[in-house]
């Protein structure tokens, strides 16, 4: 189907017969502002990028358009927010459709930008002249999460109210300024009309504006670095961007749009009862992409789960392109064939190990009871931390010996272990925890 659609586009939409002599269409002119005229043929291959960056950009455009239309019918006050959305769903033609499209695209944007991050990381496309763009990418990832999070509150239903309550409460565990930071984000001890207005303003004004700036920088730095990162070869073969790349981009865009529209026919964005600050639903969960953090907080002392671990990870992700690597193969997936094997093994190990450890901690290992005489930062802090860190360290050392790899692959394996652990915790919290946040098995 992919091939057929590409063929169709090439034949009927773009005139490819005499590229040198003809006038460019406006789509083509726009494409030539983003891309150079010719491009390495290896950069056009679909599984070099999976089109993920482009998908994110398109989702942002969909979100901007649907968001602007939704703004016409939304009222950002505690009294009327919920009713305005019920009204939109029931009385406006295609109102529910628009809202579901916005909701689905937003969730897809979180997933697509994370996959895009994984793609650039594992295809070794973040080093040297691309390092700066990795930082811009992290800023964009933060903006995606911030937009999604601020948008989460706006329906002012039970789901929105309690998810945001739970997540802002996580900030309270940061020592010294945590309480005032949480109060600043909520503009009060609990969520109130100020919170709603602030979130609305951020969601529909400040954050989209920042997006436009940072996406612009992100695109420009890709061009400046010479496009997609590719392994070095002696002779490169250049092909014209029109039609080779453009056809693929338009194909991906059309497939995405068609898929989204089709999905929204069968799916509607959730809307529970109006928010009730006196009734917490059981269980109450943070927005799904933050559930890994909530899961961590169930098992490990807040000093570790809310401060040390997130702080360390943030620094690690900022520093990752600037570390001292011995054998960089820029543009080579997983740096080497051994790297690929090690990453796959690390991912499998991390998934089963994290899953098993959480099961044990929930059902058998009650350190808070056993070590109740020692302070809690030892019994539920250092002890579970070592219980995780020692086996992971041993596994990584085993991998290092077995595959005889350099530090590039080892850092990649460590990152994989951390990311898969987070995803495992997220999935457990999302799918396997029922009433009282107890495991359902």
């Amino acid at each position: 189907m992919f091939w057929y659609l590409s063929f169709f586009l090439e034949q009927f939409i773009m005139n490819t017969k005499h590229p040198a002599k003809r006038n460019y269409s406006s789509l083509e002119k726009f494409a030539l502002h983003l891309h150079p005229k010719t491009i390495d043929e290896r950069a056009v291959v679909f599984n070099r990028t999976f089109g993920l960056g482009g998908i994110c950009a398109l989702l942002f455009i969909i979100l901007a358009i649907t968001g602007m239309i939704l703004r016409f019918s939304y009222i950002p006050t505690v009294e009327q927010a919920y009713d305005s959305i019920v009204n939109l769903n029931t009385h406006t033609i295609f109102g529910g459709f628009l809202r579901s499209l916005h909701h689905l695209s937003a969730n897809l944007l979180v997933i697509a930008s994370f996959l895009h991050l994984l793609r650039v990381y594992y295809s070794q496309a973040i080093f040297k002249k691309r390092a700066e763009n990795w930082i811009y990418g992290l800023v964009l990832m933060f903006l995606v999460l911030a937009s999604s999070f601020t948008g989460y509150l706006l329906p002012w239903d039970q789901l929105a109210y309690w998810a945001i309550t739970i997540f802002t409460q996580i900030f309270e565990y940061i020592p010294l300024f945590g309480h005032s930071l949480a109060n600043f984000i909520r503009s009060g001890e609990t969520l109130n009309s100020n919170t709603l207005l602030n979130f609305y303003n951020l969601h529909t004004g400040v954050l989209p504006l920042l997006f436009v700036f940072f996406v612009g920088m992100h695109f420009w730095l890709v061009r400046k670095a010479g496009g997609v990162a590719l392994p070095e070869v002696e002779e490169t073969q250049k092909v014209p961007v029109i039609p080779n790349l453009l056809v693929k981009e338009v194909t991906v865009a059309l497939l995405l749009l068609a898929g989204l529209f089709l999905a929204v026919v069968f799916y509607s964005a959730p809307l529970l009862d109006q928010a009730n600050p006196n009734l917490s639903p059981n269980p109450s969960k943070a927005p799904w992409y933050f559930l890994g953090a909530q899961e961590l907080l169930l098992h490990v002392h807040p000093a570790f789960s809310a401060v040390i671990i997130p702080g360390y990870l943030l620094l690690f992700f900022i520093a990752v392109p600037y570390l001292n690597y011995k054998n960089l193969n820029i543009g080579v997936w997983f740096n080497s064939p051994e790297g690929k094997k090690l990453v796959i093994h690390s991912a499998i190990f991390s998934f089963f190990f994290t899953f098993g450890l959480i099961y044990l901690l929930d059902h058998f290992l009650h350190f808070d009871v056993w070590l109740s005489s020692s302070p809690s930062w030892i019994s539920i802090g250092i002890v579970p931390f070592l219980l995780y860190a020692i086996p992971v360290g041993a596994f990584l050392f085993y991998g290092f010996k077995k595959y005889k790899v350099h530090n590039t692959e080892m850092i990649m394996a460590s990152t994989t272990v951390i990311m898969v652990s987070y995803l495992t915790m997220l999935l457990i919290s999302l799918l396997l925890r029922g009433e009282g946040m107890l495991l359902i098995f």
Partner: protein, 153 residues
């Protein structure tokens, strides 16, 4: 760097404007609809209308009013210290349970069962003309239960 009057004035103006912008934004975020102090002082009535060893919910004002065996009063916040859910009163134990993540608190608000790590917060109380008032504008945090946290008539 040599002293440059124009540059100095320019930077001074930018600095003053930035400070003003910062205050405007901060004020806008936090002070939009600040309630007057009176509104946050909740009158709960005469002390003899409350029985000893009983819990009275004032959910719309976000506290449980507890009267202890010795006649002392305490206004406990309904917000679980783990992740901010609303706790329920457990009529069997006299304590409080969190429906979200199963934390349990004693009648005094101390943690009996994790994941919560600190006791329930409380609101200070005052007595005017024999009537009890709860000041909900400040929430007090504590490490453990102390007799001084109670209010006596």
């Amino acid at each position: 760097m040599k002293f440059d009057r124009r540059r100095f004035i320019k930077r001074l103006l930018v600095a003053i404007a930035s400070v003003e912008a910062l205050f405007l934004i901060k004020g806008g975020i936090t002070n939009k609809a600040r309630l007057s102090e009176d509104k946050k002082l909740i009158r709960v009535g005469k002390s003899d209308s409350y029985e000893k060893n009983q819990v009275y919910p004032f959910l719309s004002h976000h506290f449980y009013l507890k009267r202890f065996e010795d006649g002392g009063f305490m206004a406990l916040s309904i917000k679980c210290t783990h992740l901010g859910c609303v706790i329920n009163h457990n009529t069997k134990t006299g304590g409080f349970n969190c429906p979200c993540h199963a934390s349990q608190f004693s009648p005094k608000g101390e943690v009996i069962s994790s994941p919560a790590t600190r006791p329930l917060d409380y609101y200070p109380m005052t007595i005017k003309n024999g009537e009890l008032y709860v000041d909900t504008s400040v929430v007090k945090r504590r490490k453990s239960f102390l007799k001084s946290q109670l209010t006596y008539v």
